[in-house]
């Protein structure tokens, strides 16, 4: 194995791609070569590092020096001064939005230090297209452990004990869902991943698939083993071509490594995955509509029961979970339910990923323990409101959610507390609005949205 003195991580997330991170990467590689440092310094393009509004950005390890807002010509200077002479370049450091002081390393920047990453543990840290890097960060260990040391029932028990709740919106206990499906007679059974991410203002699932596709594959494979399913489907919305591409490559790698396919880890267990791409219908995020769409029909919901656990895809028992739900599973199996329960709140254990958007200074992708006060997310991590304007409200839960006004900045963000404020956790869109936003206009916007996207199936929409 080669040994490198420095690793330079360049963010290649969706936001940074549109900010021109490819030019930065090419320039960096070029500049390193010109200095003859290519055997000492490794450049890695990662998934989303989080603070999209600061892109293009990169982190130099082992020190963890964070450079942001980069222009191509800045890169030559960083290579010359920092990577060659060993003196970090202050000019391109992050500046605290309140004090305007430069902060060198990521462990000095609240945006990073106030977060806690489980679902995003590898996103922004590894090359998403390298299964070797995923494995080097304990990837597929949970799956190996499950297949070699645990019975399917054990996995279901661990997930139940962890208290993990579905991250797609409704917060249903994942372990219970798996148990129902495992107990239903009838085969084949299916594992489905909801990656439709229809809520506008949300890009968590996209970032997980693009930045760490193997954690989704591992989570789904664990589910397959637990409930006795050998085939999984990932339903991704068509607006996310890079997610489709990364996941497709990851699936192929996993097959090559024998982590998907037949007789995995010589256990006799077989599991494989297929991607299906959506076609632009918000309602397909609803699970029964999604299953209809997977079968090639109009994506219209149907009444429940029967639940997908009983009659899902092609009327077979099916578990359907959200991307982030699956991405939590490898860590839960590896570190145990007790560890997971030590994070977050009593009734909402673990963390939640949010897509922070709107008028916050640092917009982007964040993951915090459940129960973190809303104000901490917006002001400590998000750096407050652009132009030091006043905060007016935060919108959560997508079109089915609601807005929390300034009086609610202390509300702990968990399923129950948000409900008390008349909104929902939803899938994790968190849109910050300043004093200039007109709430009446916003309400009209959401009504228009719901009218446009209505499929006319349920009574409230038809009246």
């Amino acid at each position: 194995m080669e040994f490198y003195r420095n690793h330079v991580l360049v963010c290649g997330g969706g936001g940074c791609q549109s900010s021109g991170c490819h030019i930065i990467r090419d320039r960096l590689i070029d500049s390193i070569k010109k200095r003859g440092l290519e055997s000492e310094i490794k450049v890695v393009v990662t998934g989303c590092m989080g603070p999209c509004s600061l892109g293009p950005m990169m982190i130099v390890y082992p020190e963890g020096i964070f450079y942001c807002g980069l222009k191509p010509e800045n890169v030559d200077i960083i290579v010359e001064k920092h990577l060659y002479e060993g003196v970090p370049v202050k000019e391109y450091f992050y500046r605290d939005p309140y004090s305007d002081e430069p902060a060198a390393a990521i462990h000095e920047i609240p945006f990073f230090t106030r977060q806690m990453k489980i679902a995003l543990r590898n996103v922004g840290l590894i090359d998403p297209l390298s299964i070797e890097e995923y494995i080097a960060f304990d990837g597929y260990f949970a799956f190996a452990k499950a297949l070699t040391q645990h019975k399917p029932e054990d996995i279901i028990r661990l997930v139940k004990e962890s208290g993990l709740r579905g991250r797609g919106g409704a917060g249903f206990p994942t372990g219970l869902k798996w148990e129902f499906t495992a107990k239903v007679q009838g085969r084949p059974k299916y594992v489905v991943c909801n990656a439709d991410e229809g809520d506008p203002g949300a890009f968590m699932d996209r970032s997980i698939i693009e930045g760490d596709p193997h954690s989704l594959i591992e989570g789904m494979a664990l589910c397959g083993y637990a409930i006795g399913a050998n085939q999984g489907y990932v339903y991704i919305r068509a607006e996310y071509p890079m997610a489709v591409e990364h996941l497709q490559k990851a699936i192929e790698q996993a097959r090559k490594y024998g982590l998907l396919g037949s007789d995995i880890f010589s256990s006799g267990f077989a599991f494989d995955l297929e991607i299906r791409v959506g076609a632009g219908a918000f309602v397909c995020g609803e699970e029964t509509a999604l299953l209809a769409s997977l079968e090639g029909r109009r994506g219209e919901p149907r009444p429940k029961p029967p639940y997908p656990a009983q009659e899902g895809l092609w009327n077979q028992p099916t578990v359907i979970n959200n991307v982030e739900t699956y991405a939590n599973l490898p860590s839960i199996i590896l570190k145990g339910p007790k560890w997971f329960r030590s994070i977050g709140t009593e009734r909402s254990p673990g963390t939640k990923v949010f897509a922070l958007a709107g008028q916050a200074v640092n917009t982007g992708l964040v993951e915090v323990p459940m129960g973190t006060p809303l104000g901490d997310i917006i002001f400590d991590i998000g750096g407050g409101i652009i132009g030091k304007k006043n905060f007016k409200a935060a919108q959560t839960g997508g079109p089915s959610g609601g807005c929390i006004p300034a009086g609610g900045l202390n509300v702990p963000v968990d399923y129950e507390s948000l409900r008390e404020w008349g909104t929902i956790m939803g899938s994790g869109g968190l849109i910050v609005m300043d004093e200039n936003t007109c709430m009446v206009d916003l309400a009209k916007f959401f009504l228009d949205f719901c009218q446009d996207e209505s499929c006319g199936k349920c009574i409230p929409c038809r009246m």
Partner: protein, 165 residues
């Protein structure tokens, strides 16, 4: 019409796509996706072909196409401009960008210019919400749109098409 299809070999392409999915259950949507990627839209003769080859009633094929916003029976412009009107972009002024595009190109959102060059589409969230307002021109994403930036993107494109590009 028929002769034109034969000439361009579109027919065989369509057949090939359908054949590739013959064994897969629930393949109608992936098949339509691939054909639309190839042809740009899904005209009636294609729908008929799909219906025959996959043994699905034409009415059902058509109802699928009309249900999903991404499928189109009409040809789209050479440059498809997608404007995000998701919540995050909206609170950062996406509606002004839509208005401006309509004015610049002289068409309503959802329509195509008579010369077949531009289509404006309103989309819901492109997943770049942190950097709104966002627009796309075919596969290129433009972020933090402002009126002068929008104007430049469009005039550059018009200039390019004028030069036969």
């Amino acid at each position: 019409m028929q002769a034109q299809q034969m000439e361009t070999g579109l027919d065989q392409k369509v057949e090939k796509i359908i054949a590739a999915y013959r064994e897969k259950p629930g393949a109608l949507i992936p098949v339509l996706h691939e054909i639309q990627n190839e042809l740009g839209h899904l005209p009636m003769w294609v729908q008929q072909r799909v219906s025959n080859a996959m043994n699905i009633p034409l009415s059902e094929v058509n109802s699928i196409i009309s249900f999903y916003a991404l499928f189109s029976e009409k040809p789209k412009g050479k440059y498809v401009i997608g404007v995000c009107k998701g919540t995050a972009c909206y609170v950062r002024g996406a509606d002004k960008i839509v208005e401006q595009l309509q004015e610049l190109l002289g068409i309503e959102a959802g329509d195509t210019t008579p010369d077949g060059m531009f289509t404006i589409e309103v989309v819901r969230c492109l997943g770049a919400c942190g950097l709104g307002p966002v627009i796309t021109v075919n596969d290129t994403v433009y972020t933090r749109m402002k009126p002068d930036k929008t104007k430049k993107v469009i005039t550059d494109l018009i200039e390019k098409t004028g030069k036969g590009g």
